[in-house]
Amino acid sequence: MIAFIIRRLLQSVLVMLAVAFVAFALFTYVGDPIAIMLGQEFTEQDRARISAELGLDQPFFVQFARFVGNAVQGDFGLSYRLARPVEELLLERLPATLELSLVAAFFALLVGLPLGVYTGLNRDSWLSRVFLTVSLIGVSLPTFLIGILLIYVFSVEVNWFPSFGRGETVQLGWWSTGFLTVSGLRSLILPSITLGLFQLTLIMRLVRAEMLEVLRTDYIKFARARGLSNRAVHFGHALKNTLVPVITITGLQLGAIIAFAIITETVFQWPGMGYLFIQSVYFADVPVMAAYLCLVAFFFVAINLIVDLLYYAVDPRLRVDRAISGGH
């Protein structure tokens, strides 16, 4: 177990270093920071002085080590576009993205799970067919189109929900939350549906497939033979055993949700990190791009690590498999 944890930790650190390397290469080879700082007119002495001040005359690996050192402390320099510390910009927008992602994930889970159980139990009913067909169309619709359609129907035609922004937010320390005001909650609805829809269909299909699988097993037949009620068999025995993969996938999808928030945030002009990232791509604002890249990579690596460890702890079969395959 400890060897496994250490190996996974090492892997995660390696991935983070690789991402940091890409981010650093962005800084070094894209654009010329000295030209940006000095403007149009400067002498060679100016250039050499600034270059020494910034440490750009140092060897490549020394620079990289310093970049990683600063990044670990959350220092990514100034944004070229807004001339403010990047970590400040990201921290300001982090709550908006995290709240949106969490609500979307809960929406996907709370709706996807019952739909999956229903379509798994009643596989031949017409309602199940409707759900499955709709989910197929939902998967084929690109996220941004779903957003546009929702805005058109619910903001333009009937004007129930706002079409952009977060509404009023309440400041709790450095965290700004939209959960505490009516307009904040109303603003959350359309973006989180847009963001969560894909994951919803994924969870629904997964739960359905798992339910169909589990319902065929012997212990379910045995439970029925013991005369247990349908309810006890379906929810006490079958559903419980489908949950391990569902939790894993939901956990892993949380990272995808944070990444896909880029699109949803752009459609709804949601003031989160994704919107900031798109704007920085548009204006070639390298420090923001690099910092966002590192932050999202960190989320991904952390989520992957946690899910792996949880899986390992929850499912004893995995341990046996690994032992047999020689810890591959």
Binding site: P142, F144, S163, A259, I278, M289
Partner: protein, 318 residues
């Protein structure tokens, strides 16, 4: 399963007869949904390819545009103009024609990036599987890392890097190539993994050993001996990835970091039209969106069908 072997003594039937007689064509004829998807795909593709000849207007011929025709709704709504079937946008361009021209760009990027990803992925997969050792480890670790991030994020990142490397004017010129590169680079992993897997199996077979013994050059061995035997699944992946690539391109263009409005793809059209959604001119953005969904959905259905039709394991249960 009782299969009859092809009778070698009979004269070989013509190509068309062989296609009509094949299992794949049989499963095609048995599935109305697939036939519908094929029809829609055909209509979309030919509409896009033949746009300069069959489009009712040329939306990029500035001389033919008239601001008096701007923002006309589709023909079945009041205040429309029968010349513009699906209405016009804010500059008086025919929406149907812009969609046809836009689909052309979308398809171009889609096909080019799929081919790029396929060539890259297949080559790396072949090398990885055949050479093994450290080369294999490095390629597959890169693939693993990339696979743990969503493709759209990778595409955005590559697009962003190339954007930062070019100046703005230059970028509009190279937008097409930048897009092909970034979408292609975000989808190579699946090909590489599939090909590596089958190469590992193939390389121990006798024909490969025989070829090696008579001194065939490794590169020739890889590409003309092993490649034909591992390419089957790759083509199925390519079909499904075509829909993904079209959607990814549309997403990038919609986010404003893809094709510029001067050379719009479907995604750019949706992005531009989105500004007019609030004032109720829904047709400028909804119709390109509809075209995108129809195209992606039907290509997807075709890919699913191809996967099932070419998979003999599934055929037995039918």
């Amino acid at each position: 399963m009782a299969t009859t072997l092809p009778d070698a003594t009979k004269t070989a039937p013509g190509l068309s007869a062989r296609i009509l007689d094949s299992d794949v064509f049989y499963s095609f004829r048995k599935s109305p949904l697939t036939m519908l998807a094929a029809l829609v795909t055909l209509v979309c593709f030919s509409g896009a390819l033949l746009a300069p000849w069959i489009a009712p207007h040329n939306p990029f011929d500035l001389g033919s545009l008239n601001l008096l025709d701007a923002s006309r709704p589709p023909v079945w709504i009041e205040d429309s103009d029968p010349r513009f079937l699906l209405g016009t946008d804010n500059q008086g361009r025919d929406v149907l024609s812009t969609i046809m021209y836009g689909a052309r760009v979308s398809l171009l990027v889609g096909f080019a990036s799929v081919i790029f990803a396929m060539v890259l992925g297949v080559t790396l997969g072949l090398i990885s599987g055949y050479v093994g050792g450290a080369v294999d480890a490095v390629i597959m670790r890169i693939a693993d890392v990339q696979l743990s991030f969503p493709a759209i994020l990778i595409a955005l990142l590559i697009d962003g890097i190339l954007r930062a490397a070019f100046s703005h004017q230059l970028h509009d010129q190279f937008a097409l190539y930048v897009l092909i590169l970034s979408v292609g680079l975000s989808y190579w992993v699946q090909y590489a993994r599939t090909v590596r897997g089958s190469t590992l199996v193939e390389k121990n077979k006798e024909y490969v050993q025989a070829a090696r013994v008579i001194g065939v050059h490794p590169i020739r061995l890889l590409f003309s001996h092993i490649l034909p035997n591992v390419i089957g699944p790759v083509l199925v992946i390519a079909t499904i990835n075509l829909a993904l690539a079209i959607i990814t391109e549309a997403t990038l263009s919609f986010l404003g970091v893809g094709m510029p409005p001067t050379k719009p793809s479907l995604g750019t059209l949706i992005n531009v039209g989105n500004d007019f959604l609030m004032s109720g001119e829904w047709w400028i953005t909804i119709f390109p969106g509809l075209a995108l969904v129809l195209m992606a959905l039907s290509v997807n259905l075709l890919g699913d069908w191809l996967r099932d039709a070419l998979n003999p394991k599934l055929r037995v249960t039918r």
